[in-house]
Subunit: 443 residues, 2 copies
């Protein structure tokens, strides 16, 4: 298995030293509410796409301090013996609510709400943010690309431009954002995603000539394969490709360089003239959402996207933060807390959220609800509002349906529904304000 | 252990289907030379920093198709039975040369040269590129930051803004690029890096007041700790911090918001007036190389850097490619090969490289050598040239000294030496051409 056995040291040192200090003075056992949100979307973006929630839940289940972790913490003198004892028995026993994976989010959306003691909740900060910030950055970019691509499939091929484990998560997040498949085998194995592939220039160059390479590929993969035709001359490559397929219909040709729009028209004409009307054209080579949009009128059948999707198309991370918003005071009641100094101030207190829809089911507002803790917990959305927070972990138990391959399928559907509900203007690629206003409601 | 057991499926599907086709027609056993290089640096960058080489070597050692990998490949119908048999016995038995990890690189620098059969070398493409592209992007950004910081330490604190496993690699690469330490515990454990930490706003907010929080932290961590003073009012926070330390000298205060340059001056004056002249000031909050440079005249003792270092400061990946440059022909001789069509053309044939130095030991040129294969292999740099390619794997054996914590220490030293050798102009932050010209020499 490629999953690391324990996720417990994917943690910033200060979380454990804060825990030590809080265990010593007794505050570690105060009940707390931490909230994950972003203050703003990346400049110009109209919406974000929450991804990684399923991975967060899996990571929390594997957040255990075993002998290997504890002995290193002791050797490295990170925390004292009392804290090591505490960590040895660590299990998250709290409750997590959150937006469904795949849901669109906006500034201040409380996408994850973690409730538990300070001791059990504070040490999840780094891991939760690592996953949600990365995966959401990828899904947010992917969603723009699949919007631009319309009915044409987008194929994720960016593993080589991302850290090798990040690439596995990127493929997953791209599929949540609407991609049809990935080239990365580990993502196929781990998440049940469809995997696809063509061939590299190296395969053509390995052979004595292009004809030989194409013949070998067709002999091995069948005529339904995709032949890469731009190693030498494209028009000649297409002739060789058709010859290699012989009487059988060739699956597709791939173009990986040059002016893809012009080439696609030329190659389509050449294929059609040769009677290969069913042979598809796949384009790759530094595509992003703008390049995809620019190819809308070209006879392209699918887009292979690499660098730009796995790096979030200019925004490789989200600005999500994990903030303590309420904690048990001396009275035993939950009290709102918030940083008060000039910048980075945030609103204290537990939140819940709903999306307001008009009579046509079109989203009009992101409604973020705060107020007295009991009132927020008890709040029910009025007619015309869709509640956004779902129970993900209840008393330490991860709820069914959110994790594994099932979680990815569910998140993919959720994103399609959530995006379809947004106003058309919010789905435009052009830079502008968030597509929905965030409205704060006090109860 | 958090290392995945096998890295073999961190591979694009097309590598295995190309292998299948090449096994079927016999070309899989042709001897090949693959080269990793970048066509260009990110716009405006003066040099790149190679990082991840040690991780590549470790990943090659763990590139094994065990039962779990093979049974999934069979179930998913990725390759045929003959190919599965071949993969079951896969061991890389070839030879790898490369730039030492930490070395500066330029366009066309052959940073890694992999020699083996097509079958054994082609399937390493995705994994090798994932590691080198990500780690080098981070080290390249880190090097600019540590240049800007001069003698003041830079501390890596960005785990929450990167995929959780990428964050571990990012900490390592940041240290190669000159960072002094990381906040991420797993990076400390895995690579022997120093770990550091302060406290979060949550710790202050957990307590009834700031005095109580600071007292708890000092009681637990000693007065040498770093107190975060900007949760409420900074001047009051500094007073509370000094009071909490009592008679002992307080280690440091951290500023995480506001106008850091102005605040640092105010806080320094306040600390000095209170006699706390040894108490240091750590600044954090969206620092990048430009912000660090802008704080050069402020009384700051160290920089905590997050988002910008783990995302490569605007360039989250490198454009490194893994290209077949030579392969055994029908004659049994190695022949140069290269893609020939309009764009993305590259130069065929094996390369070697050296850095030309002037009489003062200052680098003046990146010399990339190509020509007849035997001549390139036999080439020895003239006086005033430092050879760049080192043997990393010989006949399948990873050479000692490049991997693990030892490899990181060695890479860190190599980067310091390599950067010091560059002309001063090449180390400027301002956007310009690569700091050294790449000169092609034919032998």
């Amino acid at each position: 298995m490629a999953h690391p056995a324990s996720t417990a040291l994917m943690t910033d040192r200060y979380e454990l030293t804060m825990l030590q200090a809080a265990l010593a003075d007794g505050t570690a056992h105060r009940r707390c509410v931490f909230e994950v949100f972003t203050r703003r979307l990346p400049a110009g973006r109209r919406y974000g796409v929450l991804a990684g929630t399923g991975r967060v839940l899996e990571a929390i289940e594997r957040f255990r301090f075993g002998d290997a972790e504890l002995s290193w913490l002791e050797e490295a003198d990170v925390v004292d013996a009392l804290t090591l004892d505490h960590l040895a028995g660590y299990r998250f026993t709290g409750t997590v609510h959150g937006y469904a994976e795949g849901e669109a989010f906006f500034p201040a959306s409380p996408v994850l709400v973690v409730e538990g003691t300070f001791a059990e909740a504070v040490i999840l900060e780094t891991l939760v943010l690592s996953i949600l910030n990365y995966d959401s950055a990828i899904a947010s970019a992917a969603s723009r690309m699949t919007t631009a691509a319309g009915d044409r499939p987008c194929l994720e091929m960016g593993a080589r431009r991302a850290h090798e484990e990040a690439a596995v998560a990127a493929a997953r997040a791209a599929v949540v954002g609407g991609f049809a498949a990935t080239s990365l085998l580990e993502a196929g194995r781990r998440w049940g995603l469809p995997t696809i592939g063509t061939a590299a220039h190296a395969f053509t160059l390995l052979h004595d000539d292009e004809r030989g390479a194409f013949a070998a590929q067709v002999a091995s993969q069948g005529a339904g394969t995709t032949l890469l035709v731009d190693t030498y001359d494209v028009a000649q490559g297409v002739r060789h490709a058709l010859a290699a397929a012989g009487d059988a219909p060739l699956g597709a040709v791939r173009l990986d360089s040059g002016d893809l729009g012009v080439l696609a028209h030329e190659v389509r004409a050449q294929l059609d003239a040769a009677g290969a009307t069913s042979t598809k054209i796949v384009v790759t080579s530094d595509l992003d959402e703008y390049a995809i949009a620019a190819l809308a009128s070209a006879p392209v059948d699918s887009y292979g996207v690499g660098t730009s999707v796995v790096t979030g198309s200019g925004h490789p991370t989200c600005g999500m933060v994990y903030k303590l918003v309420a904690r048990e005071g001396a009275s035993g009641e939950l009290e709102p807390v918030a940083k008060a100094s000039a910048s980075k101030a945030s609103q204290g207190g537990r939140k819940t959220a709903a999306r307001r829809l008009d009579a046509h089911g079109r989203a009009t507002e992101e409604v973020v609800v705060s107020g007295r803790d009991e009132a927020v917990v008890a709040w029910q959305p009025a007619d015309g509002m869709r509640p956004l927070l779902e129970p993900l972990v209840v008393d330490g138990e991860v709820q069914p349906g959110w994790t594994g391959a099932e979680g990815v399928r569910r998140a993919t559907r959720r994103h399609q529904e959530s995006r379809a509900e947004l106003p058309r203007v919010a789905r435009r690629l052009s830079a502008d304000e968030p597509g929905l206003p965030t409205v704060h409601l006090t109860v």
